[in-house]
């Protein structure tokens, strides 16, 4: 019996569910790191976020009378990533509201998994940032073994005691000696290990790097997006550093903020990033350029989440322009 079906005809063991759970597993080092650095509250915020995303997805699909696909793990991943983008001291209702916006508005309203234009977790974060800026950026938790701004010894000024590395750069870079302290080797070490203030899952570059390497080696994500993202940020801030526009080294820019989390886990989202190889280079470079622009000239100290959201919006266009021509066309 001949069976007619649409492509792809070669079936593989890789399912959505499997991919989602590998990504979740790759986030586990950073997750345990966040509990270590920020205490049990990081765990509670993450659990609330995951449970709300999960429940919201099921509820939306039930209302829309669609098959309930919460078992594919995508809602769990969204919840996890959303929690990673929150400070650990936010009130408990914040992850619930954020998860609702991420799942109900940014994902299900657009048609569910595969149809969303924007990364749901980042859309949730952007909604929270616009609605409650003081809750989202007003207070941070000092990580265990570290300091808020990552500067290890001789805290020069009390003002940096509630400033994350990028806030310190944005608000206090004119303070004498502060740029040098931000560039110090010990600061770079604490940034790399995650001993600095920030959103609960973004701080430890080392643990996120382990997750990223797992994803690339399992061929879950394409190395092109993170690589071009890092290269764009590194080279642009390098030039601006040599020109004296930014007082800190490109290394500081790479290791601070949410760049590692964004580049490995959020810019690479299948649904909202380009499909072609050339398109992925463009996407990563675009993210990097926008991140640097926001950090140096924008109103916010950090621009990773907005850069990815902005590039998400251009993804259909990038895909259209980089589509490979059929031979003989």
């Amino acid at each position: 019996m001949l069976k007619v079906s649409s492509y792809p005809h070669i079936s593989s063991e890789t399912t959505t569910r499997k991919i989602m759970f590998i990504v979740i597993a790759a986030l586990m080092p950073a997750f345990f790191g966040s509990i270590f650095f920020f205490g049990i509250r990081a765990l509670i915020i993450t659990l609330i976020s995951i449970v709300s995303s999960f429940a919201c997805e099921a509820l939306c699909q039930a209302i829309r009378k669609k098959p309930i696909t919460i078992n594919d793990g995508s809602a769990i991943l969204t919840g996890l990533l959303l929690a990673f983008n929150l400070p650990s001291c936010v009130p408990y209702w914040v992850p619930v509201v954020g998860a609702f916006f991420a799942i109900a508005v940014a994902k299900q309203v657009f048609g569910g998994l595969g149809y969303n234009i924007f990364n749901p977790a980042l859309a949730g974060r952007a909604f929270l940032m616009a609605s409650w800026p003081s809750i989202m950026t007003g207070k941070w938790v000092v990580p265990r073994l570290g300091t808020m701004s990552g500067i290890v010894y001789s805290l020069p000024v009390e003002m940096t005691s509630n400033a994350t590395p990028l806030t310190a750069l944005k608000d206090y870079s004119s303070v004498l000696g502060l740029p040098e302290l931000l560039n110090a080797k010990s600061t770079i070490y604490s940034l790399f290990l995650g001993m600095r203030g920030g959103c609960l899952g973004e701080t430890s570059c080392l643990l996120l790097l382990i997750g990223g390497i797992i994803l690339i080696s399992f061929r879950i994500i394409d190395f092109r997006i993170p690589l071009s993202y890092f290269l764009a940020v590194f080279s642009l801030t390098g030039i601006l550093w040599l020109l004296g526009v930014t007082p800190v080294t490109p290394l500081f820019h790479i290791l601070s903020g949410g760049l590692f989390l964004g580049a490995f886990f959020m810019a690479t989202d299948y649904v909202t990033s380009p499909m072609t190889r050339k398109g992925r280079w463009i996407f990563g470079i675009g993210c990097g350029v926008i991140t640097v622009l926001i950090r140096l000239w924008g109103g916010y100290p950090e621009g990773v989440s907005y850069s990815i959201l902005l590039m998400n919006a251009t993804t259909p266009l990038i895909d259209k322009f980089t589509r490979s021509r059929i031979f003989g066309h």
């Binding site: 508005v105 309203v109 909604f127 616009a130 609605s131 409650w132 800026p133 809750i135």
Partner: protein, 197 residues
């Protein structure tokens, strides 16, 4: 005849179904008070311009009808503009440029071109009221949702608990929130129309 009146409120609601006149809807619907003020101004202009244009339709040359419509509409807009400025200056300041902009409001011009220029005075009068109420209904709905969620108040009165008012959803009052709310209202409207058909 009665159909002329009801068409504009639900089935052909200018905002939620025809999607015209969206600029003032998005811009001034941050509070219930502003919404009602804007709605009243539009109803006033819509009724008078509809009736006038319908009465003069035999005398307006077809080639220059649009400039003539605009002159007639702007006459009534000037009246309401000065009246609001004189008697309710606070509301006038809140609405800002959107009162003079009623001159080029798609709804007013659309009803003039699409209805009043072809139909009798009574029908145009009813159509003006219907479309005006349809507009006011939409902007009132927007204003209610945005003020409740964005500031926790209704017409300036505290109706939601203090805990909510300390941390309202500011996003809803910001421009993107306006787009979000109108998108949801249009979605609900489509759903209602579809389930009715």
């Amino acid at each position: 005849m009665f159909k002329n009146f009801t068409e504009g409120i639900f089935k052909n609601n200018p905002v939620l179904v025809l999607m015209i006149g969206l600029c003032p809807i998005l811009a001034v619907s941050t509070t219930v008070k502003n919404s009602l003020g804007m709605g009243a101004a539009v109803i006033f202009v819509l009724i008078l311009s509809n009736v006038t244009i319908s009465g003069l339709r035999k005398f307006i040359p077809e080639n220059i009808r649009i400039p003539v419509f605009i002159i007639i509409i702007s006459t009534f807009v000037t009246i309401i503009d000065y009246t609001m400025h004189a008697f309710i200056p606070e509301l006038y300041d809140n609405l800002g440029v959107f009162v003079p902009l009623i001159v080029v409001n798609c709804i007013v011009l659309g009803r003039a071109e699409g209805f009043a220029y072809k139909k009798g005075i009574v029908a145009s009068f009813l159509d003006g009221i219907g479309s005006g109420i349809g507009f006011t209904f939409a902007i009132f709905l927007m204003g209610t949702i945005r003020e409740l969620l964005g500031s926790g108040t209704f017409y300036g009165f505290n109706v939601l608990p203090q805990g909510f008012q300390n941390n309202p959803v500011i996003f809803i009052i910001l421009p993107p929130g306006g787009f979000l709310v109108i998108a949801f209202l249009m979605g609900i409207m489509n759903h209602l129309k579809r389930s009715q058909a």
